[in-house]
C-alpha cells in the first residue's frame, strides 16, 4: 500500500465517526426546535378538526402523532433517574406529557399520575357518551386541572371543585357519579410515599432499534427527509430545485472569486509596495469591510430601478423572471439566468476581497524562496517563472482554505438570495426558518454537513496528490 492510499484511507475512515456525530447532533437539535410539528402536519394535510369534539380531536392528533413516529423512544438508549418511567415517551399529546413531567417532578410518583390521568380519560369518555351539560361543565374544570403544571395549584383547584360539586349537589348521571367521586378520591389521596435513596440514581434503559433516531437516519440515508410542513411537498424535491438555482450562480461566483483572488493576489505580490499593489490591496481591504447585504441593497436600489436615473438601470429587476410551475427546471433556469448575473458578480467580488490577501501574503513569502532566486539566476523569463514556479507553490499551502469556501457558498448566501429574491438554498433556509418548517431546515443542515466533509476529504486528497512532499515520500 502506497503512502498515498493509506493517507486517503485514513482520512476517509475519520469521516465515518464524524458523520455519526453530526447526525446525532442534528437529530437532537431538530428535537428542541419550537412549534408543534403534529399540528402543522395536520394543517398541511387539510385535516379539519374544528368541528370535532375534544375526544375526537385528541384521536386524530394521536393518530398523526403515531404516524410521524413521535411516540417512539428518541434514541437507542436513555439515562434517567430511577423513579422516572421509561415509557413516558409514549404519552400523547406533548402538552399532557409536559404536565405529567411537571407533576412527576413534584411528587416522583408515576403510578399515582397514571391513575389520575386514566380516571380523567374515563370521565371524558363518559361525558362524550352521556352528553350531559352539567358533567360537561365539571369536565371543563377538570381539564383545567390537568393542564396546570403546578401540582400544588392543581390540587387546590381539585379541592375547590370537589367542595363546589358536593355543596351544590350537582345532578349528573348516576353512573358517572361514581367515576367522579373515584376521581376526587384518587386525586386528593394523601399518601406518605417514602422516597428511596436509589430513586434518583441514574439508570440505563435500552429501547432497541425501534426508535426515532434510527427511523430518521435510515430514511435520511435514502435521502427521504419527510414532507415539508408548509406545502406538503417532499423535502428532497424542494431542496433539489433550490440547489439547482443556487448552484447555477454560485459556481460562477466562486470561479470569479478564485480567478480574481489568484490573479490579483499574484499581481500585487509581484509588484509588492508599488502603487498597483497599494491600490488593489487597499480596495480589497475596503471591500472586505463592506457588509454583503449593504452592497446588495445598494446595488438593487441604484442599478435595478429607474429611481436614480435611467442610465443606472443596467441589470434586470430582482426575482428570477416569470418561471412557471409547469416548466421543467432547465427552462426555468434559462428564464432566470439574466437575473443571476448581478448577484453572482457581487458574491464573486466580495468573496475575492478576503482571498486576495491570502494569496498575496503566501506569494510574498514564496517570492523570497531559494528556488525563485535560482530560476531567475538561470535566466528564465519572468512570465515562465510566475506561472511555472510561483503559481503552483503559492496555491499549494492554501488549497484547503480556497476549497473550504465552496460548501459555505453552496449553502447559498442567505442575504443575497433574500435581497435578490432568488429561490435558492439560502432563500429556502430563510423561509423555512421563518415558517418553522423544521424538516426542511434540518435536512439542509444534514446535507450541508455531509457535503462539507466530502469537500474537505476531496481537498485533502487533492492536496496529497499535488504536493510532492507527500507523493514522493516512500516508506
Amino acid at each position: 500500500m502506497s503512502i498515498m492510499t493509506s493517507f486517503v484511507l485514513k482520512k476517509a475512515l475519520l469521516i465515518i465517526p464524524s458523520l455519526v456525530a453530526l447526525s446525532v447532533i442534528v437529530f437532537f437539535l431538530s428535537k428542541i426546535a419550537p412549534g408543534d410539528q403534529v399540528q402543522m402536519f395536520m394543517a398541511v394535510r387539510g385535516s379539519q378538526t374544528d368541528r370535532l369534539s375534544y375526544h375526537q380531536q385528541q384521536k386524530v392528533y394521536s393518530e398523526v402523532y403515531e404516524e410521524l413516529g413521535l411516540n417512539k423512544a428518541l434514541f437507542y438508549i436513555s439515562i434517567k433517574p430511577a423513579y422516572f418511567p421509561d415509557t413516558l415517551y409514549k404519552v400523547i399529546p406533548a402538552s399532557k406529557k409536559n404536565v405529567m413531567k411537571a407533576w412527576l417532578r413534584h411528587d416522583q410518583d408515576w403510578e399515582w399520575i397514571q391513575l389520575v390521568f386514566e380516571n380523567h380519560e374515563a370521565l371524558i369518555g363518559a361525558a362524550d357518551f352521556f352528553n350531559d351539560p352539567e358533567l360537561a361543565f365539571i369536565l371543563t374544570q377538570i381539564k383545567t386541572i390537568h393542564a396546570t403544571a403546578d401540582l400544588q395549584k392543581a390540587r387546590q383547584l381539585a379541592i375547590d371543585l370537589k367542595n363546589s360539586t358536593e355543596n351544590n349537589a350537582v345532578n349528573v348521571p348516576h353512573k358517572t357519579r361514581e367515576l367522579l367521586s373515584n376521581y376526587f378520591i384518587n386525586f386528593l389521596h394523601d399518601q406518605k410515599k417514602t422516597q428511596r435513596i436509589t430513586s434518583v440514581f441514574p439508570t440505563l434503559h435500552w429501547h432497541g432499534l425501534n426508535n426515532q433516531y434510527h427511523q430518521w437516519l435510515s430514511k435520511a440515508i435514502r435521502l427521504d427527509f419527510g414532507i415539508s410542513l408548509t406545502d406538503g411537498q417532499p423535502v428532497s424535491k424542494k431542496i433539489s430545485m433550490a440547489f439547482i438555482w443556487t448552484l447555477s450562480y454560485v459556481i460562477f461566483a466562486y470561479l470569479l472569486s478564485l480567478f480574481l483572488a489568484i490573479s490579483l493576489g499574484l499581481y500585487t505580490a509581484y509588484h509588492q509596495n508599488k502603487w498597483q499593489d497599494k491600490l488593489i490591496s487597499t480596495s480589497g481591504f475596503v471591500l472586505y469591510a463592506v457588509p454583503l447585504f449593504w452592497l446588495g441593497t445598494l446595488a438593487i436600489v441604484f442599478l435595478t430601478t429607474d429611481i436614480y436615473g435611467k442610465w443606472l438601470h443596467i441589470f434586470p429587476d430582482i426575482g428570477v423572471g416569470s418561471a412557471y410551475e409547469s416548466m421543467i427546471w432547465i427552462e426555468k433556469l434559462g428564464e432566470g439566468l439574466p437575473h443571476l448575473i448581478l448577484p453572482a458578480l457581487l458574491l464573486g467580488m466580495h468573496g475575492a476581497a478576503s482571498a486576495i490577501r491570502l494569496v498575496r501574503n503566501t506569494a510574498i513569502v514564496e517570492l523570497k524562496a531559494d528556488y525563485i532566486v535560482t530560476a531567475r539566476a538561470k535566466g528564465i523569463s519572468e512570465s515562465r517563472m510566475v506561472f511555472r514556479h510561483l503559481l503552483p507553490n503559492t496555491l499549494l499551502p492554501i488549497t484547503t482554505a480556497l476549497i473550504g469556501g465552496f460548501p459555505g457558498a453552496l449553502a447559498g448566501s442567505v442575504v443575497i438570495e433574500v435581497i435578490f429574491n432568488i429561490p435558492g438554498m439560502g432563500r429556502l433556509l430563510f423561509d423555512s426558518i421563518r415558517q418553522m418548517d423544521w424538516p426542511v431546515v434540518f435536512a439542509m443542515v444534514m446535507l450541508l454537513g455531509v457535503f462539507t466533509f466530502i469537500i474537505y476529504l476531496l481537498g485533502d486528497i487533492l492536496y496529497a496528490r499535488i504536493n510532492p512532499k507527500i507523493k514522493y515520500q516512500s516508506a
Partner: protein, 380 residues
Amino acid sequence: MKTRLSKISVNVSIMILIFFAILAIFAPFLANDKAILCKDVDGLHFPVVSGQKCEQPEFSLQPFLKYHYSGIDPQNAAFISPLTDQHLQPGQQRHYLGTDRIGRDVAAGMIHASRVAILTGTGSMVIALLIGLLIGLTGAYFGNDQLSITRRSAMIGLLSIFLGTFLVYYRKYFSGNFSQVLFTLLIFMMGLVLADGVLKRLKPFRKRFKLPLDMMFSSFIEIFQSLPASFLVLVLVSLFTKASLYNVILIIGLLRWPSIARFARAEMLKIKEQRYIEAARAIGMSDLRIIVRHALPAVMTPVIVAVAFGFSSSILLESALSFLGIGLPADHVSFGSLLSEARKNYEAWWLVVFPGFAIFCLVFAMNTLGDHVSRLMERK
C-alpha cells in the same frame, strides 16, 4: 507599508472606534425622549434613569437628540427624508437623518444601534476568547506527551463528568426538594470517593498513559473551523423559543473561537521552547501559573489580531441576522434592522446609506487595527 497613509488610517480607525464606544456607552443620554436632568415640583431628579416625567420644569437638561429609538412620531411616519420639509410642531426637533416607515427617528436608532453593535462584538469576543485561549493554550502547552495521567484518574474524571451532566440535565426533577438535592450530591460524591479507593488498589488502573491533548484539541479546532458559521448561526439562533440579542451573542461567541485558538496555539508552540518557560519549569512552578503568568501575556499580541477580525465579523453577522429578522425580537433596533426597512421602500436612500456606512466604518476600523498589529508583529 510604513507610509503616511497607513499611519493616518490607523489614527482614523482609533478615532472611529472611540467615537462608537462613546455612542455605545452614553446611548441613553444622547438620544432619549426624557430629560437627563430635571428640576420641577418633585425636586431635582434624573428622568433618563428613573423614568419619571418632567413636566413644567424650572430647569432641565435635554439630551442631544430628543427622540427615543423606539418612539413613534405619527406626524412623520412613512419614510420622511432628512432633506425635505418635515411635519414639525413648534419647538420640535428635526429628524436629522429622516424617519422609517412607522415614524421612528433614524438618528436615535443609529445611536442605539451602535450600542447593540459594540455589545455584540464585545460579548461574543469575550466568550470566544475564554474558549479559544483555554483550548489553544492548554493544547499547545501540554502537547501530545506532556500530560500523563493514571487510568484511575481518567476513569474518575469521566465518571464525575457523567454524574455532573446527569445532575444538571435533570436538575428540575430534584429541585422540588432541597434536601434531596443535597442528599443526591452527597451520595454521588461518596460513590466517587469509594470508586477512587477501589481503583487505587487495582494494578491495571495505576498505569499512566499520555493524553494526546494537542491532537485532540487541534482536530476539534479544525472541525469547528470547517463549519459554515453564518449558516449555523442562522439555524441555531432560530431554535430559541424566545428571541433575544443575548442568544445571538452567545451563539456567535460559541462559533467564533477557532481562529483565536489557532493563533494562541501557534504562538504558544513558539513560546514553549523559550528559556524563560524552561526556567520557570525548572524552579518548579506549577503549569497553571506558567500558562497564566508567563505565557498568556506573550500570547496576547497575536490573539488581539484574531479578536479584532472576530469582533468585526460578529458585528457583520448580527447585523445580517437583524437585516433578515431572524433570532432577534421584532422591536430590536440595530444597523441591520434599519437597513432592512429600506427594502420596503427603495426611495428611502437614507435608510440604505447611513446604517450601512456605520457598519462599514466600524468593521473597517477594527480590521485596520488588526492588520496594523499583525504588521507590527511581522516587523519584529
